[in-house]
């Protein structure tokens, strides 16, 4: 009897997970496939864990624009949890010939979402202290994160970056971080369709 209930529970859990994955991934399934469709350099530890295909953002080799790349990210049980998985992947994502727009050592401290559809990404101090500076580099760092969240979590429309749990003026003296930011498509360079 107990074994039967366990089986039923597992089936129900799988159905719920599948439905959630479909909800999150619907936009990406429907969207034109202009992004490069490859796996992250750090593949998932457990291939049996359900994943979603997320759009992350790296910088061009020259470092003058963002490019969207597809990578697998573990499926999570809530929007906030899924956001954490996406940001964690964004912080470590790497794929040649592109370069990461994230300063070395920057890590995610927390991510939370408000009922108004605002996401707050709390980063470690390295996001600011290890930043190379310059308006262009700073724009890419900020919008790689803002775009990664808004592109993969349709319910989040604005994102604010925090450092060590606190609101900051900028990362390196340029981009205004006192308020939430919308996604920015102007700095995203679409790759030619394969």
């Amino acid at each position: 009897m107990t074994r039967r209930w366990l089986k039923l529970g597992a089936v129900a859990g799988s159905v719920i997970a599948l439905a959630f994955a479909l909800t999150l991934g619907l936009e990406r399934v429907m969207a034109p496939r202009t992004e490069t469709d490859t796996q992250a350099t750090t593949p998932p530890e457990d291939a049996t864990v359900p994943h979603i295909s997320a759009t992350l953002f790296l910088a061009t080799a020259e470092g003058d624009a963002l490019v969207p790349v597809r990578m697998d990210v573990p499926l999570a049980s809530s929007v906030a949890e899924q956001g954490r998985e996406i940001i964690a992947a964004q912080l470590t994502a790497a794929q040649l010939p592109f370069v990461t727009p994230i300063p070395p050592g920057a890590s995610l401290r927390a991510f939370y979402v408000t009922e108004r559809g605002e996401g707050f990404i709390d980063l470690s101090a390295e996001a600011a202290t290890a930043h190379p500076g310059g308006s262009t580099a700073e724009v890419l760092t900020v919008y790689s994160l803002v775009n990664a969240v808004t592109a993969n979590l349709p319910s989040v429309t604005r994102v604010q970056l925090l450092i060590d749990g606190k609101e900051v003026d900028t990362l390196a003296g340029h981009v205004d971080l006192r308020r939430t930011l919308e996604k920015n498509d102007e700095i995203v360079q679409a790759l030619p369709s394969p």
Binding site: E62, G133, G134, S135, T136, G173, H174, N184, E186
Partner: protein, 469 residues
């Protein structure tokens, strides 16, 4: 020529002194004119001016004043002359006015300081048509009663107010020799050429102004009376014409502990921006005669908000922030110009500013409508002009052979631009992460080329503003 202090009780001169081209007033005279107290802080080397418990702190080191803890910019610092302390005359309107319980308005071109609720209308004059007849139009704003007395060789116009604000004399044409302030208080004199014929005057009040039209006919003829409230013909030269670009604020990015981008060989962004800003300031001031203020003139840290606030307090007509760029890869080079991007938040602020107007009383009666805008979104109402400025900068940089990146003009939510209440742009003059550019950016030749390009763009932008006028 002293300033004239005008209050409800009368007029009094306020002597000034010129030091290095800067007009200064003695704090002793300020004490007697405004009943403030002045205390010298020998330890800090500064001076505190106090009025009814509110204070302003001045320092001989910095061209700034701390007004109840808030910094305001002055054109020059406090100066000691013998036993006296001298301050720039702008201290009266920027430093003293915020702590004073009556309004203080400095009208420097007119040599007037208005204190309290005094009626001091501006008087502008136009002389139209070689004639005969020749028409003189005097416009008094805000409106005040006028009485014209016709004499054989002149017309003396008396204006019923506490004082009048008249600019320099204006040359006449035809039957009128010139128009200038009269020797008697509150009068304007229209001097006629010898042998003129009949003179008629008419008055009309419109749009809060009193308009007096004087029609001067030739000897033996009859003047054609101008329509009393007719709009001035296109092409008239106004009596007082404010230049479109009076002050430019140049912001050398970073400074102090914030070195900005560090290029190979320890080339620092903060030094490049300061060097370039100094070249640009010198070029504009000596060749265009436009006042240029720098948000920092040495290696000191200045907060981003303080930079825009400094430009606002300096009443700058243009704000340019200078930077050197960085990228995550070494392969990109070239200059880029940024202006503020408008997302839905800022767009809402802009719409709110247009909708949210308030009526404020003005000197001499009447009121005017003002738009209210959050200080930290002041740039929202200048986005279109800033975009034009950015395009002009790009064009000028290319003309000066300054390398441009593949994305020469961009929009971004840059903090230093958000609070600037004037057309504004941020210029990244090149990439310190580029091995090809890192040495180039530090050379005087390159910085002079950049300064020349900005100078050219400023000239072009001035023309754009004048077209708008």
């Amino acid at each position: 020529m002293p300033l004239v202090l005008i209050t409800r009780d009368g007029h009094r001169p306020l002597p000034t002194t010129l030091v290095s081209g800067q007009e200064l007033v003695a704090l002793d005279d300020v004490v007697s004119a405004f009943q403030v107290t002045v205390r010298e802080d020998t330890l800090a080397g500064g001076v505190t001016v106090t009025y009814k418990g509110r204070s302003v702190v001045l320092s001989p080191e910095q061209p700034m004043a701390s007004v109840n803890g808030r910094l305001v910019a002055l054109p020059s610092p406090l100066v000691r002359s013998g036993r006296r302390w001298l301050v720039p005359v702008e201290f009266l309107s920027r430093g003293l006015a915020p702590i004073y319980d009556s309004k203080i308005e400095l009208r420097k071109p007119s040599r007037l300081i208005l204190v309290g609720d005094v009626r001091v209308p501006r008087v502008t004059a136009r002389v139209e048509g070689a004639g005969p007849p020749t028409h003189v139009v005097l416009e008094v704003t805000p409106s005040a009663p006028v009485i014209a007395t016709i004499e054989p060789t002149r017309v003396v116009v008396h204006i019923d107010a506490d004082a009048i604000d008249v600019g320099g004399p204006t040359a006449g044409v035809g039957l009128v020799e010139h128009v200038r302030a009269g020797d008697q208080p509150r009068t304007v004199v229209v001097t006629l050429r010898p042998g003129v014929g009949p003179v008629r005057t008419t008055t009309a009040e419109a749009d809060g102004s009193m308009r007096l039209t004087i029609d001067v006919g030739a000897a033996g003829g009859s003047p054609t009376v101008a329509a009393p409230a007719a709009a001035p013909p296109v092409g008239d030269i106004p009596f007082i014409n404010r230049p479109t670009l009076q002050t430019i604020a140049i912001d050398p990015g970073h400074g102090g502990e914030d070195g900005g981008v560090r290029g190979a060989g320890d080339v620092l962004e903060k030094q490049i921006t300061l060097d370039t800003a100094r070249r640009l300031k010198s070029m504009i001031e000596t060749r265009l005669g436009i006042r240029v203020v720098l948000t920092r003139d040495d290696d000191q840290p200045v907060a981003l908000d303080a930079r825009a606030a400094f430009a606002n307090n300096s009443k700058a007509d243009l704000f340019l922030s200078l930077h050197a760029n960085a990228a995550f890869g070494p392969g990109i080079a070239g200059a880029e110009v940024f202006y503020l991007s408008v997302d839905s938040d800022i767009e809402k602020a802009r719409e709110a500013a247009q909708a949210d107007t308030s009526s404020l009383p003005v000197l001499g009666g009447g009121s005017r409508r003002v738009e209210l805008l959050r200080w930290d979104m002041a740039q929202a109402s200048h986005i279109d002009a800033s975009a034009t400025l950015a395009t002009m900068l790009e064009t000028s940089l290319r003309a000066q052979q300054v390398p441009m990146s593949d994305r020469p003009v961009q929009r971004a939510p840059l903090r230093v631009l958000v609070g600037a209440n004037m057309p504004a742009a941020l210029l990244e003059i090149g990439y310190l992460t580029s091995p090809d550019q890192v040495k180039q950016l530090a050379t005087p030749e390159f910085q002079t080329s950049v300064a020349q390009a900005i100078f050219d763009a400023v000239l072009q932008f001035r023309g754009y503003l004048e077209q708008g006028q």
